[in-house]
Symmetry: C2
Subunit: 792 residues, 2 copies
Amino acid sequence: MTVTDTAAAPATDEELALLDRYWRAANYLSVGQIYLLDNPLLAEPLAPEHIKPRLLGHWGTTPGLNFMYAHCNRAIRARDLDAIFLAGPGHGGPAVVANTYLEGVYSETYPHIGENTEGLRRLFRQFSFPGGIPSHAAPQTPGSINEGGELGYSLMHATGAVFDDPDLLAVCTIGDGEAETGPLATSWHAPAFLDPARDGAVLPILHLNGYKIANPTVLARLPEEQLLSLITGWGWEPFVVSGDDPALMHRAFADVLDTVLDRIAAIQQQARSGERPAGEPARWPMIVFRSPKGWTGPKVVDGQQVEGTFRAHQVPLSEVRTNPEHLRQLEDWLRSYRAEELFDDQGRLLPELAALAPEGDRRMGANPHSNGGLLLKDLELPEFRDYAVRVDAPGAGMTPATTVLGEWLRDVMRLNPTRFRLFGPDETASNRLQAVFGVTDRAWQEPIVDTDDHLATDGRVMEVLSEHLLQGWLEGYLLTGRHGLLNTYEAFAHIVDSMVNQHAKWLHDINGIPWRRDLASLNYLLSSHVWRQDHNGSSHQDPGFIDHVINKKAELARVYLPPDANCLLSVADHVLRSRQYINVIVAGKQPQLDYLTMDEAIAHCTRGVGIWDWASTTDGEPDVVLGSAGEVPTMEALAAADLLRQHLPDLKVRFVNVVDLMRLQSPDEHPHGMDDRDFDAVFTSDKPVVFAFHGYPTLIHRLTYKRQNHSQFHVHGYIEEGTTTTPFDMVMMNRLDRFSLAMHVIDRVPSLGSSQAVLRQRLMDARLAARRYTRVHGEDDPAIANWTWPRA
Amino acid sequence: MTVTDTAAAPATDEELALLDRYWRAANYLSVGQIYLLDNPLLAEPLAPEHIKPRLLGHWGTTPGLNFMYAHCNRAIRARDLDAIFLAGPGHGGPAVVANTYLEGVYSETYPHIGENTEGLRRLFRQFSFPGGIPSHAAPQTPGSINEGGELGYSLMHATGAVFDDPDLLAVCTIGDGEAETGPLATSWHAPAFLDPARDGAVLPILHLNGYKIANPTVLARLPEEQLLSLITGWGWEPFVVSGDDPALMHRAFADVLDTVLDRIAAIQQQARSGERPAGEPARWPMIVFRSPKGWTGPKVVDGQQVEGTFRAHQVPLSEVRTNPEHLRQLEDWLRSYRAEELFDDQGRLLPELAALAPEGDRRMGANPHSNGGLLLKDLELPEFRDYAVRVDAPGAGMTPATTVLGEWLRDVMRLNPTRFRLFGPDETASNRLQAVFGVTDRAWQEPIVDTDDHLATDGRVMEVLSEHLLQGWLEGYLLTGRHGLLNTYEAFAHIVDSMVNQHAKWLHDINGIPWRRDLASLNYLLSSHVWRQDHNGSSHQDPGFIDHVINKKAELARVYLPPDANCLLSVADHVLRSRQYINVIVAGKQPQLDYLTMDEAIAHCTRGVGIWDWASTTDGEPDVVLGSAGEVPTMEALAAADLLRQHLPDLKVRFVNVVDLMRLQSPDEHPHGMDDRDFDAVFTSDKPVVFAFHGYPTLIHRLTYKRQNHSQFHVHGYIEEGTTTTPFDMVMMNRLDRFSLAMHVIDRVPSLGSSQAVLRQRLMDARLAARRYTRVHGEDDPAIANWTWPRA
Ligand SMILES: Cc1ncc(C[n+]2csc(CCOP(=O)(O)OP(=O)(O)O)c2C)c(N)n1
Ligand SMILES: Cc1ncc(C[n+]2csc(CCOP(=O)(O)OP(=O)(O)O)c2C)c(N)n1
Ligand SMILES: [Mg+2]
Ligand SMILES: [Mg+2]
């Protein structure tokens, strides 16, 4: 059942001979995909019209992937392993397609690609062909959870996949070029975080084929001793398989694979029987697989060495249609695999080879972990209403919103011990989610000392100082059917911008692939946000992550800016129930005013946008709309409303708060969008709107530019000004402060303007006085810092 | 003069005793900065009113940084080193400020912070104080080239700083938390790229203080043997200094520092006398410095261990104003440094201590390399007109634009052998810039074999499969006064989004700091762009990097979309001459039509926006404007213009091309902005504008939403659709194709609409036929792919 069921007999020579044929079949199918339009089994001599007009794809990595995949099959059968396969170099798509075809999964998934000559023809033709399939290990590819187009994430995906899944083995091939990326480089620290008792196992296979696109790779050229020292230093036990003679390589690899799987089984057995020594991460085995790039492909093309060099990276023979010598070389190459020993004359894999694949769900292409939605269960969520902050009057009391959320999350973690994890770069406590440590700890396999805080081998809070690693682990966890939340500094969420892109593409593709099931959403809590970097200043101030996410498909992107603790609870509950989204919640960890009772908060968050009548001075047509989105801007906008009602009691102000940013768009742009009638009802079609926004002002313009009243939208937000200073100085630097907002109202309401020049000047003076106060006292004027909404 | 002037006498005990006092002085100043408003030398008993109301900053890392800095001073004096200091944990700002103050640089730079008691008072007060200085090693801090707020970039900055600067030593402290980040983890591969003959030396000091914010660090908890194995594996020779007894630590560190500097000198001497063995990277020394976090600070606070734990990270005593016990502890702590042995009664550092600092520019705070603009010289640029493509008629011939650029860049590299480098993730050749290999190679210190291509120890083309590393190296190179260009896949530029943010903040701050000199711009060439991912498909398709850059301050952000090779040359020349910008050029590597002669190209790029009369059917008021920006969209828009002139000869079309995207904004938003009169003259104030854009359509809306005619802007661009397919299928998927554009013109020009229903249907059919063609033939219909602008 699991890797723990150990020790298989060594491979016999016959087995290895069959395995070699299986590998040849996979190689044949891979070359076929790259080159052939027709004549799939070379029933007739190869002719130019059998060749694709555009030769696209990557051969170099492919034979190595095929080799590893075939050997994994043997191990799975011998040990009944529950295993998935990650192709780090996802550009080796032909390999994953070929193997899932050979094991029968491909034809089950895509019946028009049958197990016969016509099926082969279609399999070949569709690859990188218009209307066909992508060149990478994409969501369309059965068995894949790692597209591998943007290199660097395979090992973190593999690691996330096995959290809380003790029976799973993630075999992870890693390109030696990929290994140069930062994300991959830090992924090697997995043993410090993987619990051999509660988690499954990762088997990294470092694919040292020596080259990337045009260069050798750093790791492949290290003296072997140094490479082993490096791997040992990362905490793994390396096993090297190296060579280019297939027969020798089969023997060596089969034996090493047996050894490492025994090792894994022993580690798991020890840990699961409680005999693991404390404070010693398991020394997991890994394999260094050194083989020629483009192995078994053309050796020399046009006088230049190709096999074993960077020239094998993409398409080794590039002029097959026009250059008869290339055509001949291709035919020789294809025939070198001796398809007649692999397929019958109907184009079906010979039975003795087909028998080498595992069966049913044990086939790596059919393993449900690679289609995580199949395994996904809803979270059991505690009733969030029970965690509500009591609000007797709006804007009177203060709560740090994340503290409250932490209590709810604690119980989420209690109720879902194997399918929810919390991720953060060393900031769970500083983000005030520390209540979760009431039920679990931070995962940590290294030694633990007295002065440490809430570390445990089986902790479910993942903390490491790498936003990449956290994101990648979380993705791996989600892709295999679980749930999670990543909390991080708002500014540093940009570190994973490109990873978000890739995950968004994956989610988008799932929506178009009937056999792929929906995944739990990718959830962010940005709680150390731009407005409260009291300790850190400018480098920690950037609210642009939401701009980035909004560029994703509307079907995926969701952005929430809950103004207080109860709204945060309501939003968080919604988000953890959702599927297939990228949810970004921005909510601070500092005490902030509470406005809404839980019932009001639920109504407000469900609506996404609401008029706050208690903060408005009219129920009817206003003279001006004060809009806000985000916790700090909402407080400033309310304080501005307070100023206006004191100084201009006749001014009719409508106060609008936006929680769900996507509501601002129109329904044809986003499913949450408000139609124009709704929008105009809330924001009017002709009155000035002074809007206090958490992020870059352009984002609001971008969302609303089509609205009739858009030219009257005046947005205050982050304009890239900031340093280490007081919270109010920070909003003043960006003209998001109450005084600036109130002045802007005066400027924009036609009836005020010059008649209120004195008031305007007083507000300006108040700004200057507030600034001066900070310069003298080093903190904000208490009259400002302690402002609350006046009781009726 | 250089590290090569080797071997200093070992430190005497007297020297070390002095050095300890110097260190105490730095620690004293650091604690003073975090806590004190007044009473800087404790002339009177410490009272609550001497304490800052907001206690902000990071103590934990600071004593370690102070220790290293003081020891570097000794080495600089002993060996006359040309050295800079990078604080990886840039939150240790107090340490860098304290040290540059002690060496006199701070008061020279900021005369109001004098070397006396009042100066000390101001020095303390300003830190993390409104109107004062940031908490980090920011641009405001003399000597810094690494803000260290977003952790992970210190070692790559240090490496970039020493490229082509053989006499420079970059001492780089690295936080053990920082070392967990992906970017830092891959930075250790520097020895594979650093040429000991042509480049300077980096001395990494891994600061194992055991903790990050709330957690232990992975590296600090590894068994020492494993840690050394890891460091050796990365290719460095580790030297460990470990302990907490200051006297022992001073001796140990001084000796180790002497040893490693001797080692560096020996490596350089060997390499520079030509005796370096080929294919063996230098085994550079590095130091592991293990000392308690918050060393010399309070041991126990409120019953909890603080020194040597994560609790020392920020402010160890947090209630000094209100808790008398905290106040007492702070006073004891401050007095433990015995300021009376460090400063005279005027508050001036005692002369025997002041004498420990190096002199003049040898002081690390004054080293001109840390204010690179001081050293920056203009590039010698070859006359770009000489590289022009001959254009006899617009849109008739084809050139891959980057090939032409490569020829010019080759000569840039020839003319500037020590101050220009080209950076790219293994794609210089695939981006067709291979001409550069005519004058230099790829930097590579590992073994080189026959089949390798253009590798050399002293190469100046930097290729590694890490966008982070390339970006960080380039930043380090720019920050020390040199020039460079990074070419990368457009989609994968997002990998460095957050690094761009940090560099943008640095540039912005420079503009406000009189003593900081301007730097060369940060230049990107995105040439494997969204529209031509023929081999790769969806994961490689994302044009959002320009959206990201445009969120930066207008003073910094520049985006160019040259439509052809001559325009690319003109833009590139402009960009390499510029300072203080972030320039993004998007230009493809595939053959594209040439439109403009060199003179026309220069005029067009200087204007930034131009009406192409040869592609328009009127010189006067048009019925419709066809706009375009970007190479592929421009071709499609021209092909649409061609269709329109064939089918609707009476339609008055104006064709507008945009090279400089910032022109679309108004001048109050961006210095390149067009005023409304200009804008309306070009785009009309009331005619439909059908705009074909390279990136996300919302970007054009965001730039133009204030224009009078904005509601008539209809933008076609990337709508997140794509896969591995033909170029024309790709534009069709996103409705950016010529037929869709022409149909949109019909839909929007009031006089056409229903009267042209037949034509519209034909265009629709043409789209379908084009798609069908790809499905059948696997390539684009030659009638489409080979389209050229019709000769007059
Ligand atoms: C982050 C990233 N940068 C650049 C590329 C472009 N690229 C595609 S394949 C490749 C080389 C990969 O080399 P390696 O990981 O060794 O894979 P293999 O040799 O097995 O093909 C590169 C640089 C990429 N896919 N991802
Ligand atoms: C990329 C990034 N993520 C998170 C943080 C938040 N942060 C600030 S300091 C710190 C801990 C740093 O630990 P270390 O590098 O060991 O520095 P030191 O112990 O010397 O303070 C963290 C996680 C950050 N600054 N940068
Ligand atoms: Mg490789
Ligand atoms: Mg540390």
